[in-house]
Amino acid sequence: MTDPNPQPAKIGAAEKQSLIDSLQAFLPTASVLHREEELRPYECDALSAYRQLPLIAVLPETVKQVQRILRLCSARKVPVVARGAGTGLSGGALPLANGVLLSLAKFNRILDLDPVNRVARVQPGVRNLAISQAAAPHALYYAPDPSSQIACSIGGNVAENSGGVHCLKYGLTVHNILKLEVVTIDGGLVTIGADALDSPGYDLLALMTGSEGMLGVIVEVTVKLLPQPESARVILAAFDDIEKAGDAVACIIGAGIIPAGLEMMDKAAICATEDFVHANYPTDAEAMLLCEVDGTSAEVTEQIARVEDVLNSCGATEIRRSNNEQERAVFWSGRKAAFPAMGRISPDYYCMDGTIPRRRLGEVLARIEQLSQEYGLRIANVFHAGDGNLHPLILYDANKPGELERTEELGGKICQLCVEVGGTITGEHGVGVEKIDQMCIQFDKSELTQFHAVKHAFDPDGLLNPGKAVPTLHRCAEFGAMHVHGGKLPHADLPRF
């Protein structure tokens, strides 16, 4: 197997100018950005600890233009990084100094909405929430709701297989899309999936979803729309012990109830968000659960009563239920503001994303607490408890020398812990550049080689988002050495701010 991540040669000034000229031959001058001040907005995504100016940024408006860009880059062996709204949390859209950044921001139209077949055909730059807003007049919506849904784009959602607080019941992006139009690195256009529920051949729709821009550039997405639930209510329950809260989650599911959302916050997260949004959260509790049920009014009434029984029998110290939409919004307001709330109590925070088997929660939280003390860094935990997806937020100050490096090392330890207990390093944020070394913990040599072979099948020259998502075997060998010898910086070859 050839190395799928060859480091393309450095590009000189003359070569850069020639590339700009070739791009401007079919793109408006204003759509080809190459001066430093124009490129600055593209230097990072939402993982702003990593920054890099691209060689050139392009903003095409048509599929044909995207095809020509990829054909040109393919011919000249120039790497390409696709970018949606730039809200990604793993550095998946981090540019390359010798590469073209391909922004899909101008692909922002909803092309078709079919309420009878309950599908919408949209361009990749359309915002997640805009789809549900367009479907609302038909009492339909698009189910996956990542916390960045006001800003994040559907193309990025597909690239990362985004989830949200409702994915226990309604699934991830992969469960809610039907068809993609994809431009391959050679400039070809291929339809993956169909307007029907399935399509012949291999499930390339699943393979593309979550592939982090490594296999092709998505230029159109057909999503499924679901009927809006008739009713939704949420229960807030406080616990004096975080393990009891974890057990309550298992009891709810064991009782045969699949809530629409089931979220947990620890004391640090409760207090930080309460200070921020004043949702009247129980700040004396060690843990808090938010459990939302939805469906027909009759179902919701019945299920709310059952959930309340289960919570009582699991030792909840306080239970509140929302009685109207306004109360429901208030209950959720703190959880939804958890990340910005951390920004108020700490100069910087670093969001982890491991998933663990839920029954290991108590043990994992105890070990995270140990690590927190060992590294002298505070950690608050918010948790998609229903599906085991943990978001420890490490609070740090990037201006203190060495603190970011310690944070990254602590983050790496948490990833390792998640793999040890049978989970994964990333549940919904993606690997990107951030967790690329931890991929070496989760997968062995032959599995990584198989991933590279899959990449090679789509992108033989390794030009699409090289260096992300799947580490080279060489990199893993070095990462292993780093662990043995210790003391060396992780990601030593990555730029720092």
Partner: protein, 352 residues
Amino acid sequence: MTLESKDIQAIVRAASAKGTPLRIRGGDTKAFYGRQTNGQPLDVSGHAGIISYEPTELVITARAGTRLNDIESALAESNQMLPFEPPHFGDGATLGGAVASGISGPARPYTGALRDFILGVVCINGEGEHLSFGGQVMKNVAGYDVSRLMAGAMGTLGVMLELSLKVLPKPACQLTLAFSIDAATAIATMATWAAQPLPLSAACYDGEILRVRLSGSESGVNAAHQKIGGEEVADGDSYWQALREHRLPYFSNKQPLWRLSVPAATPATSTDGQWMLDWGGAQRWCVSDIPADMIRQQASSVGGHAILFRGGDRTTEVFHPLTPPLVTLHRRLKDAFDPKGILNPGRLYRDL
């Protein structure tokens, strides 16, 4: 006979070294499906057994040769189920065979497809390497989604050893309702109801009667019944089971059986043949002798595809032909997993 993963690995390695094509089989209940192939049989039904099942985690992990019956019994003890209702098509049906064929039952449009519930796979690729992808957790975006790629690949990418699946609680209450209406009304009705917050879990029109299944809490099912009306069908469960297993009289015809996958609200066609509309209109069975090209053209023209599901000539292509760019990607992916072309060659498409 018990078969260890290392035994299977040794067989694949030997076949890879010699370039011997293998025909992977579990219970052999789906031998009728896909293209007819020859190869040295590799019987994996001996690699069986549930490895772990934790009801409160909603996850089961089992060896690929485990019988579906055994898995469903284990789940039923905790009042849980495989939400995609896989057809068995025979007593010996295995989990690996269900995943390889990728076929889902009547609940598919409402609850999800088999591929939707796959969380992880341990497999052996065509070079005899033992590989693990995905895992036992619901959310996992580390690496490409190779696990789901195995669903419906007809064993052409790897020999599956272990599978982890998401499971769901059985509904507390189920009710089947019947409506005597014409085809156009049935299609429109199924589409209208699917766009409403109703606890639908199946909808099938057989040419005369539309049957609809409601699943959920008792109060929710009763409220929905009040809303949509219809005549209650006694022993509705056995109807859906017979539909899933193709045991209804409709399926006893010896003519070729086609499966069309189309957008649910596609109007009924007058093509010669007997039609059965499952999946709320999205999966249409057609018993017919009309030429393959005609029926495929009809499916493609509405954005769907057609499979020669059972019967007919199994030496030609039975799955819908792929577009040229997809053929290229399929060819390259096959090479990525099975460069010697020894795993079920020709079972899915002649050249894979």
